[in-house]
Symmetry: C2
Subunit: 78 residues, 2 copies
Amino acid sequence: MKTKAVFYHAGCPVCVAAEQNIAAALDPKRYDVEVVHLGSSKSRVGEAEQAGVKSVPALVLDGLAYHINFGAGIEALK
Amino acid sequence: MKTKAVFYHAGCPVCVAAEQNIAAALDPKRYDVEVVHLGSSKSRVGEAEQAGVKSVPALVLDGLAYHINFGAGIEALK
């Protein structure tokens, strides 16, 4: 049976593509990955909080919340 | 061809197992995952820095460094 993994983000234009790489890299045989934009889906903020999400972007995997910091390269801002 | 993914850590006893979940969740068809303990393998610190790693634990995926904060649950410290 697949585990659900949820990637929560808020649409940071510089970082989100890079951070979604992690969601896309998960094993599709073991994980059903859902990507949730909390800025657009405010009704899901409570669910994210309950899962332990303190900031976005975050990945909830096996019931644990991981906060992922890519730290946009300065090159991306030029 | 598989991409190499490297998970760098320094052996934080509370967090590392949880954080390695992410490394273990990557698709094994697409990624060869290597786990490097920088405390034990100091000769690889330079390589990690060159990949953009500023703190551990970090995952280098497709040439980008992601800093992962699990934030040990307070329960783990009781």
